[in-house]
Amino acid sequence: MSGNTGTQGMSLIVKTVTRLTVGLVFLYGVFIVLNGHLSPGGGFSGGVIIGLAFVNLVLAYGRDTASKIATAAGASMIESLGAVMFISIALLGLQWGGFLQNFLPHGTPFHLVSAGTLPLLNIAICLKVGAGMFSIFLALIVLLKFESEVKR
């Protein structure tokens, strides 16, 4: 934040660097989530990385320009989508046994599509954690706008 009301975001250098890197950060987050059951990482860390990609966007470009891409309503929608996805996979498990039964076939180890419902649960957790982080950050930013009105 360059200390002023922060709507225009940071200096030009930061903006160009962000423009180049935010796609890579997002891609890295998606990689971590999808390979959660093969390599370290998983829904939690991948989700936070994706959340940080959006936070990076908001910090660099300021809240107004970034809100074309990522709005608070969109974030809470994705979060509810992640929650519903997790709960439905859990309740679907009731059909084949326990509450959170892993009912899909396990596939062959070391392959991307293996370990039954684990990748799907990873994706659900990623949506929830990433969108949750981002909406906490947006809620804190909104207060800044509110505060500047209070000061004037």
Partner: protein, 117 residues
Amino acid sequence: MSSYMPYMLCFVLFCIGIFAVFSKKSLIKIIVGLAISEYAANLFLILVGYKMGGRAPIFSPTETISPDLMVDPLPQALVLTSIVIGLAITAFLVAIAMRLYEKYGTFDVTKIRELRG
């Protein structure tokens, strides 16, 4: 001697965090103290699960690792959960600290209590 030294150092970190929470006036310092003791509690959980000369609990396609060489995976699963709990608590406390600053104009707990009347 070295059989419990890491536990003691981790416990000292926990005590520093708790001391800060009790003794500091500024809200931000209280949040900092709480974050430190959360890091120490998570670290203590992982220290309990470490096996000397063990391997990370992930199988690799190239070489076959025997499972009993692996470090204890259960505390790692628990710490994954308690790290995010720590973040949730920190985010909530920061939100309240900012609202208190906006209402009282200071981060100082003692001034806030006097103004409350």
